[in-house]
């Protein structure tokens, strides 16, 4: 057991990604705040004027909610050269953990999504059945349809631009990935063609340079996901 002068509650470390402010996770939050304030006032070398530095705030095993984060942000505002890049913590709330788990999970559903019906899922969705015109399937992750997509599919609802919409038979009314939209060709043109849009399963994704929805054969999906 070490004794002696109290250990610093707030330590500042330089790493190759910029500065990291490490905060002790055993003391009270008020103690932390006072020490941080003292450091800002004293340590002009780091917190004073000068070129802007990106900092990561590492709170260890302390759970820091939004209100505490805001307090730290407002304290660090006084140091003009500091810009907070991110908060890092070893712990997350149960709610967040639940959300992350959902985000990673695959929900599989067996039914026909008919006109006027909407299936909305967190994470990926696997639909065994058709999506009829006027029906919609949406997910924060990927949408996989083992059947015909004639209605609307939305993948990456909360902004995941790497999400895909994959269907055995792709005849969509509308597809969106994140906020990029694709409209089907007009019905008249479709009739003229007399053939399905694609003769094998395809997936829809955002093509990088044009930021447009594009289609590719499903067997090339691994390449696309490896690239991400």
């Amino acid at each position: 057991m070490k004794s002696g002068p109290p250990k610093n509650l707030v330590t500042i470390k330089g790493t190759k990604d910029g500065l990291t402010i490490m905060m002790d996770d055993r003391c009270s939050f008020d103690e932390l705040k006072t020490e941080l304030q003292e450091k800002i006032e004293k340590d002009k070398q780091v917190f004073g004027h000068g070129p802007e530095v990106e900092v990561t705030v590492d709170t260890g095993y302390r759970y820091v909610g939004t209100s505490e984060q805001e307090e730290i942000i407002s304290l660090l505002k006084e140091a003009e050269s500091i810009r907070i890049k991110e908060f890092r913590s070893e712990v997350i709330s149960r709610e967040e953990a639940e959300r992350l788990r959902e985000e990673e999970s695959l929900t599989s559903i067996t039914r026909i999504v008919r006109s006027g019906q909407v299936i909305s899922v967190r994470g990926d969705v696997l639909l065994l059945g058709d999506v009829n015109p006027g029906g919609a399937v949406e997910a924060t992750g990927n949408v996989y349809i083992l059947g015909t997509l004639k209605g609307t599919a939305r993948a990456g609802l909360e902004g995941n631009t790497g999400a895909v919409v994959c269907a055995s038979v792709m005849e969509p009314t509308q597809i969106s990935v994140s906020d990029v939209l694709f409209y089907a060709p007009d019905r008249y043109e479709k009739k003229q063609r007399q053939r399905p849009m694609f003769d094998e399963p395809v997936f829809a994704y955002i093509e990088a340079p044009d930021n447009q929805i594009s289609f590719e054969k499903t067997r090339l999906l691994t390449q696309f996901q490896n690239k991400l």
Partner: protein
């Protein structure tokens, strides 16, 4: 104990009332005891199609509110003793009835009939909810139009949440020459989109319009192709397995001759 079948479609004008009248008539032709219920309160038509409008004294709402007994509101058909009609009220609107009352009326009628055919109003609001509430089975009527199929799909989705089981499909006004040229959806397109069992299809036939005008259901006319379609549906409801009729129109002597000579028929 009878079975209550609701005839519905979502979209208006696809032939719910005509289908109700003719399925009822075709079942009565087979000697079954049938009760038709018109639930289109405020826009009643089934009595007109059946040619019975002059005999209405009490109606569905009167029976529901206890102004008369259900039996008093029933009208006996002029052609069949075993076919009865419970007409809708014309001076009220859909809110004059609630699903509980409807259920009660249907339950009261069930012991006396083999089938109770409920004609549903268009739409998915109160009128639809009333009509569906008493039913054990559902028949969805559509035409091969994109808009009608879309609405049928919506209705099937709603019916799947009821206790009616998977609905059966009737495709009305099939025009073989237009679908064979790809100008219209064909029967296979409709069935594959809706993914429910096909109960039957009715070819587009001017005789149906004529029959409606005369207040005589087309099912009475044994020569009409539409009539045969309705009679086949009735037999399928009774559990017979009847093959789908060919929708090709019969060719006349001259077109067959032309075909033989290799000219375009």
């Amino acid at each position: 104990m009878g079975e209550a079948i609701v005839i519905t479609s979502g979209k208006g004008g696809v032939g719910k009332t005509t289908t109700s009248a003719n399925i009822g008539t075709a079942l009565a032709l087979q000697g079954k005891h049938i009760c038709l219920i018109d639930t289109d309160i405020g826009l009643r038509n089934l009595d007109v199609v059946m040619g019975l409008e002059n005999r209405i004294i009490y109606d569905l709402v009167d029976a529901a509110e206890g102004r008369c007994r259900v039996q008093q509101a029933l009208i006996r058909d002029k052609r069949f003793d075993c076919l009865h009609l419970l007409p809708a009220a014309q001076t009220k609107d859909k809110s004059a009835l609630n699903p509980e009352q409807m259920k009660q009326i249907v339950e009261e009628l069930k012991p006396d009939y083999d089938y109770i055919i409920i004609d549903c109003p268009a739409g998915i609001e109160q009128g639809y909810k009333n009509a569906v509430s008493g039913a054990d089975q559902a028949v969805v009527v559509t035409t091969p139009d994109t808009s009608a199929v879309r609405d049928a799909d919506r209705i099937i989705g709603l019916l799947e949440q009821e206790q009616t089981g998977s609905p059966k499909l009737v495709i009305n006004r099939v025009r073989s020459h237009m679908s064979s040229r790809g100008e219209m959806l064909d029967v296979d397109d409709v069935v594959s989109t809706l993914a429910v069992d096909l109960l039957g299809m009715i070819v587009d036939d001017e005789e149906v319009i004529k029959a409606g005008h005369q207040g005589e259901p087309i099912a009475m006319n044994p020569k009409s192709r539409a009539s045969i379609g309705y009679r086949n549906i009735a037999r399928r409801i009774l559990g017979e397995s009847v093959p789908l009729m060919s929708i090709e129109e019969k060719k006349g002597f001259f077109s067959r001759l032309k075909g033989m000579l290799g000219l375009k028929a």
